[in-house]
């Protein structure tokens, strides 16, 4: 083998052209320079940020902490936090990309400053990142953190599997990040439709990145779904039958079931696309009998349930938020449960509405259009339930409530535009226009994203033991609401005027005012993110004044508020038993909260595991090798994956024990703190001086 052969085998299909500045250096036309400069700048920021993180960790000698407390942990709380950190990092990138797209379209009359390919990469990575690496990790993180606490459990059913789910998701995210350094990413949109993404029309490696990133995320999500479902079935504390589960638990388990059922079609679709591209199969090609429409069906068989995977956990969050800040029990709990379950079932019966225009009969379209409108019924029921929860309550406007109110108003508008689109005759007019872009952002930002940001503001004090600054929080929430409206309401109008989605440029001067306003909106959203990061900084600085170690800052209703903030590793010193749906609230009402247990036991917890970090690195190298056809890397990584799994099955000692004495001491210290904390009236809820010990409204007649 000659040297060049060797290098070829080593680098696979990667050449110098993969570098972001190469094209600009080789062929310095103005267009190449603009696009190359942006790509190079972003890549440089990424590299510098990575170096800075590594340097800081080394400087503060945090590597041991990172490895032992975080990377190898199997604690559901830490896994939840890591999911959310990942989500915020990726959100930053997604929003910055959105700003580039909006800026380009604002000057897009007869050509923007981005090349068509660059714009294509932007909407593809933006969509892929926002769905798979922002929304999904965020909701997985919130479920991970909150669910075991709400059902009175010490952990998930499968803690190591849980860590593996995070590892796979994170390595998928890393793969998308790697595509900033080694171009190109796919330009086929977040849906990756063949034949365009097949090898005939996209011979470069771009779609490979997309395929493997999405596959990793999908596998991680499947594992999460199995884990959550099993946890809810098997790990509820004594007394918690199904009708005593908090609404968020119902939402989570329904989401988990959707994950288990919806992800397989995606896995199959991406696997088939990969076979087409790598091994010359003919599933979705235009020749040899391939059927590209089969891909559309499989993808949306996943894709539509996916949007309910995105929104149901948020519905769960709203149910908790509205009840808590109205000081009332959730209105029509059972109806809400049934509504949630019906949404889950209907969500599998509507996928064709994503391609009304792609050739099935009018009768078929009518059936799916009607099915789609049906989803509006249980969703509408939910909205009324939340409004009626507030009705005659003493409503307190905190940061989570600002998100919640923004959600109710905006989500109804988005839902209405969805009902319009569900009508095939209307869809024929506006499909593939930015009217659709406005519609789905109108669901996914006020629905999912506000839900997750609300959850972040709501449970942050639980996770870290201090409140988030309320003023900056409300500013952030308001900027999100205003920014969203500015960025997307104009798109309804300009969509009706005919601007197609995914347009790098247009030739109709009348569009410009709308796209300019939309760009301003995107900037406001960026400012909202800034406000959120500043809020975090301010709150960390003031953490002593904002301390809520006593654990119940919001006068909460469910079990997670009945323990210290942050909770001990084992969550509950003594396993709780519940007698009511609002378990902790009822305890407070009866005056039974904060009792001293009369028995203490050793607590067994699963020990840390190396498996997840090993799989994180090896699944990244595996897929990176696959993207670039570096077969040696693929084989090596596969060996590591299989070897690690087999080796793990021989590991014997998987538990560590926390002695009863330690548990007792920690718990008594906390109870003492609870007793000593000045109990705060609700007017002081968001001010420093909350201390996590409310003058509870439980017991005050509703």
């Amino acid at each position: 083998m000659s040297l060049t052969d060797f290098i070829d085998a080593l680098t696979g299909r990667m050449t110098l052209e993969a570098l972001p500045f190469w094209k600009m250096v080789q062929n310095p036309t103005p267009e190449n320079i603009v696009n190359g400069a942006i790509a190079t700048g972003v890549a440089a920021i990424l590299v510098l940020a990575a170096i800075a993180v590594l340097a800081l960790l080394t400087y503060f000698r945090l590597w041991r902490t990172v490895w032992f407390d975080w990377l190898t942990t199997v604690d559901h709380k830490k896994i939840g936090i890591m999911y959310i950190v990942l989500s915020f990092v990726m959100m930053l990138r997604g929003v910055v990309e959105a700003n580039f797209m909006r800026a380009n379209q604002a000057v897009g009359f007869d050509g923007g400053f981005l090349s068509a390919d660059h714009f294509g990469e932007l909407f593809t990575t933006h969509g892929t990142i926002m769905i798979f690496f922002v929304a999904m990790p965020f909701l997985s993180g919130v479920i991970n953190y909150v669910l075991p606490l709400q059902i009175g459990a010490r952990d998930m059913s499968f803690p190591v599997t849980n860590a593996i789910g995070l590892a796979l998701t994170a390595s998928g995210a890393m793969l998308v990040m790697a595509s900033l350094l080694f171009l190109p990413f796919s330009i086929g949109g977040w849906t990756g439709y063949p034949p365009f993404t097949g090898k005939e029309y996209s011979p470069d490696v771009g779609p490979n990145y997309w395929i493997w990133a999405v596959t990793l995320s999908g596998l991680g999500t499947t594992l999460t779904g199995i884990n959550v479902a099993c946890t809810v079935y098997k790990k509820r504390c004594p007394g918690m039958d199904f009708w005593k589960m908090p609404m968020f638990v119902w939402a989570s388990v329904t989401t988990a079931i959707l994950m288990i059922f919806a992800l397989p079609p995606l896995t199959v679709a991406t696997a088939m696309l990969a076979l087409d591209r790598y091994l010359d199969f003919h599933f979705f090609t235009t020749d040899a009998g391939g059927i590209p429409m089969l891909y559309a069906n499989l993808f949306w068989l996943f894709g539509h349930p996916e949007v309910y995977i995105l929104v149901l956990p948020a519905f769960g969050v709203w149910s908790e938020v509205f009840a808590t800040f109205s000081g009332k029990t959730l209105y029509a709990y059972r109806t809400l449960v049934w509504a949630t379950l019906s949404i889950a079932v209907i969500s599998f019966l509507v996928w064709v509405h994503h391609f009304f225009t792609m050739g099935q009969s009018a009768g078929m379209n009518a059936v799916f259009g009607i099915a789609t409108m049906l989803v509006g019924v249980p969703t509408g029921v939910k909205i009324y339930d939340w409004l009626l929860t507030m009705y005659r309550g003493r409503v307190r406007i905190t940061t989570p409530m600002v998100y919640a109110l923004g959600f109710v108003m905006l989500f109804v508008i988005g839902g209405a535009s969805g009902i319009l689109l569900a009508n095939p005759t209307i869809d024929y007019q506006v499909h593939n226009s930015v009217f659709l872009v406005a519609h789905f952002h109108n669901m996914v930002i006020p629905g999912t994203l506000f839900g997750m940001l609300g959850a972040y503001s709501f449970w942050f004090p639980k996770a870290f033991g201090f409140m988030l600054d309320d003023w900056w929080g409300k500013l952030g929430a308001s900027l999100w609401i205003v920014g969203f409206m500015l960025a997307f309401f104009p798109l309804y109008a300009v969509g009706l005027l005919g601007l197609p989605r995914r347009s790098v440029a247009y030739s109709e001067a009348a569009y410009t005012p709308y796209t300019v306003v939309a760009m301003l909106g995107a900037l406001v959203v960026l400012a909202a993110l800034g406000a959120m990061f500043w809020q975090l900084y301010v709150s960390i600085r003031n953490r002593d004044a904002l301390n809520v170690y006593a654990g119940d800052p919001w006068d909460g209703r469910t079990l997670e508020w009945s323990i210290s903030s942050p909770p001990p590793v084992y969550n509950f010193a003594v396993g709780p038993e519940v007698f009511a749906r609002d378990a902790f609230w009822e305890e407070k009402r009866a005056g039974h909260a904060y009792q001293i247990p009369d028995q203490w036991e050793d607590i067994e917890l699963p020990a840390n595991s190396w498996l997840a970090p090993i799989l994180f690195f090896s699944s990244f190298t595996l897929t990176f090798g696959l993207v670039w056809h570096m077969w040696w890397l693929v084989i090596l990584s596969l060996l590591v994956v299989v070897g690690a799994l087999v080796a793990r099955s021989f590991v014997i000692d998987r538990e560590r024990t926390i002695p009863a004495d330690v548990v007792r001491e920690e718990h008594l210290r906390w109870l003492k703190a609870v007793r000593e904390a000045p109990s705060a009236p609700r007017e002081l809820e968001v001010a420093p001086g909350n201390w996590g010990r409310p003058q509870s409204e439980a017991g005050v007649p509703e």
Partner: protein, 205 residues
Amino acid sequence: MSQARHPGLKLGHEHDPGSGEVEALVFGFWIFMMSDLLIFGCVFATYVVMLPQVADGPSAAELFHLRGPLIETTLLLASSVTIGFALLETKHRADKRRTTLWLAVTFLLGAGFLFSSTHSLLGHLENGAGPSRSAFLSAYWLLVPLHALHVAIGCLWIAVAAAQVRIRGFDWVTTGGLLRLSIYWHFLDIVWIGILSVVYLGAMI
């Protein structure tokens, strides 16, 4: 919720320390199998959709014969019986030697299945009936090798499980593992029956 209930052999005693864990593991594994079944469901659906898409290649009727698949069916069904014996040994005698022996037999039957099915796949390849020939053949080359891949992973698992029985004996980790292994193995049987009926018998009609 202490009632330990799941379909399948009960390998441990009710009051074993790990019985709750095994219970959850087996339940979780059933859910995992269900999601795997959905994967096969999508692949089966693809196969059926692709049946007419033969382009200029051979059709199912021209390509398939029953001899190979029937041998494979026999091997796989027999292996389901032998893995059942391995579990019975575990339950009633907890005899390491006998359990591993039955596992070894199962492994050999699985390997025989793989040998036979690889042989026929290579035969197709030689006759120009590879996956690139037509969409129909692509679907065939997804469905049957996907099942074979599962069998291969199952064989690896059997080897690991046998080693664990030898090294660790019958604690709840190994018996829980054996239980899941047998669920997995029977699952492959069921999928194979699907393949036999849809692909091979279907081609005879």
